[in-house]
């Protein structure tokens, strides 16, 4: 074949380029014909969970069980009254039916010995286990036992659990965690002056301790149950070695001061605290006949408030804010061998590079928070909130819509009432606590009147579940007329259904798809591929390839000639 000369080739290329430039300019300069943009895409809602499964309507009213008065709790998922009765009266003192209904072991909360003769027990022995939620199984490829913080969201957790009896799941047909196995670690509540023994029965496969943060406790114990002089501070590096798997350790304290404090595991705290091993510890004033609610599973409303609280407040709530690093939680799903998990959660984890994806209030993220963490009020009430930050960010910033609250205590220490600060954003550094009084007097300052008012962290990322709004630790202050019989508030805004699907938090269901009546906002359909476009693309690609080939040919020819 005769090879065309360089000159001919150059002419051909120039002519082609000129024609192409001409066509392109015509295309740009012409009046474009109208072509309708693609229509709005149809989205089907996934399986919608019932916003309130309403499993235990009989648990809501005020009731008396084994002589224990249990206050009304109007949430969708109120605390089990039998459980409240068992932890007020002691698992050693309640009836068999109550104990069985509570799910607790008989030695979970042993109350005895009214030392000061004031009508309530003064020696408290609490046993805590450590449970793993959403862990790995060598047999199935889903997390066990399953605990969802929001639809379809199951991060790995470790949590303290008041010693249960029986199964870790709801029943033999379910892989869902039993109601005692949940986030956060339960609130512990005792009376000042009580001798409190807390036994850590380490049912988990890694070492753990308990450190009583801000709670008066002796550094050493000389005459404990173990009969030896040993540390009592829960810090493995200074006080005593951590409690190994399958072992137990008893801490003893007789707190002299009242206040809202904390307890948490101090073994590898950058991991163990973030995995969920932290709870609120409340020391109540010593009063006669003061049977306090020793354990508040899942925190939230205290259905049997202590005597001093009942005198001053209509109701009381424990609010523990936490955040979740999904990658850390995933470490327990990646392996079954405790050595591999141990490595992944120590040298394999770097908290300085960690970030949080989920934000919890009392163990749930929105929308599940409205099932179990509403603050239900009536006008002209005073409600006590004990707020704690169990997270790791610089601070949280809890904002109350419609209300300004007074801070009565910082870190459990009561302020002089003249120094109380009233505000509507409460910043808490990690591990800080605030006692707040929510006053529902409609005076334009304390309350702006009845309604359904949001309570949320004003770090806007904490309003999301892994970046998807609405989620996070938001909850509501709900005035009773706005509460339905099933414990859900009457909402006047958008349909909540999409938020009760896992697809919404997987970003598969667009935010406005459920109420964009005119269908003018939701995502457009994808455009069908155009024949002209495809052909042009192919032509251009061919041209480029040909150009490269031509250049190569000429390069080779030049070299040959040059030689």
């Amino acid at each position: 074949m005769k090879i065309p000369s360089r000159r001919t080739l150059t002419i051909v290329v120039v002519v082609v380029l000129v024609i192409a430039a001409g066509v392109a300019s015509w295309w740009w300069m012409r009046m474009p014909p109208y072509e309708p943009a693609p229509p709005t895409k149809e989205f089907a809602l996934g399986t919608v969970e019932p916003p309130c499964p309403d499993l235990h309507p009989s648990w809501r009213p005020s009731q008396v069980i084994d002589d224990v008065t249990i206050g009304e709790s109007l949430d969708c998922e109120p605390d089990n009254p039998a459980l409240v009765a068992a932890v007020v009266k002691g698992t050693n003192n309640v009836s068999h039916t109550t104990l069985m209904d509570s799910g607790l072991a008989m030695d979970a909360v042993v109350l005895e010995n009214d030392r000061d003769g004031d009508g309530d027990p003064d020696v408290v022995h609490i046993k805590l286990e450590v449970a793993e939620l959403n862990g790995r199984s060598p047999e199935v490829n889903f997390p066990v036992p399953t605990y969802s913080i929001a639809p379809g969201i199951q991060p790995g957790f470790w949590t303290f659990v008041p010693k249960p009896h029986g199964m870790a799941t709801k029943d033999i047909y379910s892989m869902a965690a039993s109601p005692l196995l949940r986030m956060p670690s339960p609130t512990i509540r005792v009376e000042a002056g009580d001798t409190v023994r807390v036994t850590l029965e380490n049912t988990h496969y890694l070492p753990h301790t308990i450190h009583f943060h801000g709670v008066d406790h002796p550094y050493f114990l000389d005459n404990p149950l173990h009969g030896e002089h040993r540390g009592n501070d829960g810090v493995p590096e200074t006080s005593h070695a951590a409690t190994l798997p399958g072992e137990s350790f008893t801490y003893e304290l007789t707190p002299r001061q009242t206040g809202t404090m904390l307890y948490h595991c101090h073994e590898q705290p950058p991991v163990h605290v973030m995995m969920g091993l932290m709870g609120i510890f409340v020391v109540e004033e010593n009063r006669p006949d003061n049977w306090v609610q020793t354990i508040n599973v899942g925190a939230g409303q205290v259905r049997h408030p202590a005597a001093a609280i009942k005198e001053r407040y209509a109701s009381e709530y424990d609010l523990l804010y936490q955040e979740v690093d999904r990658d850390l939680g995933d470490a327990i799903k990646a392996a079954n061998d405790p050595r591999l998990i141990g490595k992944a959660t120590t040298s394999g984890f770097d908290i300085t590079k960690a970030s949080s994806e989920y934000f919890l209030l009392n163990g749930y993220s929105f929308p599940y928070t409205i099932r179990d963490s509403l603050i239900v009020v009536e006008p002209n009430q005073k409600v006590k909130l004990r707020m704690a930050n169990g997270g790791d960010d610089r601070s949280i910033a809890i904002h109350t819509h419609g209300h300004k609250l007074a801070i009565t205590h910082y870190d459990g220490i009561e302020q002089n009432p003249s120094a109380w600060i009233t505000r509507d954003v409460f910043d808490l550094a990690p591990a800080q606590r605030l006692d707040l009084v929510l006053d529902t007097t409609d005076d334009g300052l304390h309350s702006y009147g009845q309604g359904v008012w949001m309570v949320h962290d004003h770090r806007e990322k904490a309003l999301t579940n892994d970046g998807v709004f609405p989620g996070g630790s938001m909850s509501l202050i709900v005035y009773k007329p706005y509460l339905r019989e099933n414990g859900l508030p009457t909402l006047h805004g958008v349909d909540l259904k999409p938020f009760f699907t896992k697809e919404f938090y997987q970003r598969k269901f667009p935010v406005w798809a459920s109420y964009d009546r005119d269908r003018m906002l939701v995502e457009p359909e994808s455009v069908p591929p155009s024949l002209m476009g495809a052909l042009s693309l192919a032509f251009l690609a061919g041209l480029a390839l040909g150009g490269v080939g031509l250049a190569g040919y000429h390069f080779g020819r030049t070299r040959r000639v040059g030689r």
Binding site: D67, M100, A168, T203, G246
Partner: protein, 256 residues
């Protein structure tokens, strides 16, 4: 599913005092005499009980501070058993130390497989050697005798409990585990085979492997890789040489 109440073994006594099995309570465990209630107090009023409740029996659950036996059955025959074929006693020990023989596990039983004949009455003693809870929970028994189809012993700490159940005649492998979170996953699982059983279950330490096994770091592959590569290289070079020789030889048609 509603919990069957057929096997209500004992009268429903909500509180039974059993001084015989009373725990060695601490000195201060003795309840103080309750103060007389002040006048004008609303009822009901909580009081520390006079005695300690140490034993509960209720709906197939026999519970005290040491633990519980659920769905004990010493007499009721399964429908397919004309009579009890025999009595066997099985002792199961549970604890962390039994997992030492299985690297990567944390809790286990002293044995992970037990055998029993059809229609035998099994008296099972469960000894917990750890100061934490452990369970021996067996699933798959007939629902009409065992609510939730299970027989269950739970021991709350270092103690033991004994319970009895009667097996049906079917040749079957029963699933046994400790249902405390992560105890089965970390090794506390076993199987009870009746008449040789009908196969094995997954993840029985020492007997059956995992459906989703762990991946471990792969050790030094240097020598096997170098040897393998060297061998393959030599083989390849040899083949090329041989083909080359073949190609260089003039074919019969090109022969001069």
């Amino acid at each position: 599913m509603r919990r069957a109440r057929l096997a209500c073994l004992c009268a429903c006594l909500t509180v039974v005092l059993f001084p015989a099995c009373q725990q060695a309570a601490e000195e201060e465990a003795k309840p103080a005499a309750a103060a007389p209630p002040p006048a004008g107090q609303p009822t009901p009023k909580l009081r520390l009980p006079e005695g300690q409740h140490v034993h509960h029996q209720h709906e197939g659950m026999d519970m005290d501070l040491d633990g519980a036996v659920m769905n004990e059955n010493t007499e009721k025959l399964p429908q397919d058993c004309p009579k009890i074929a025999g009595d066997v006693e099985i002792t199961v020990k549970a604890g962390k130390k039994y997992a030492r023989q299985y690297p990567g596990k944390m809790f286990s039983y002293d044995r992970n497989e037990w055998e029993a004949g059809p229609c035998t009455r099994v008296k099972l003693t469960f000894i917990n050697e750890d100061p934490v809870r452990h369970q021996w929970m067996m699933h798959g028994l007939p629902m009409y005798l065992y609510p939730q189809a299970m027989f269950h012993i739970e021991v709350t700490g270092p103690a033991q409990k004994t319970g009895t159940f009667i097996l049906p005649s079917t040749k079957r492998t029963y699933f046994v585990h400790c249902d405390i979170a992560q105890h089965m996953e970390k090794g506390m699982k076993g199987q009870l085979k009746v008449a040789g059983g009908d196969g094995d279950l997954l993840s029985i330490p020492g007997i059956v492997g995992d459906r989703y096994p762990d991946r471990y770091e792969v050790g030094d592959w240097g020598w096997p890789v170098a040897l393998g590569a060297g061998f393959a290289g030599l083989l390849g070079a040899g083949l090329m040489f041989w083909f080359g020789r073949k190609a260089d030889q003039p074919g019969p048609s090109e022969a001069p």
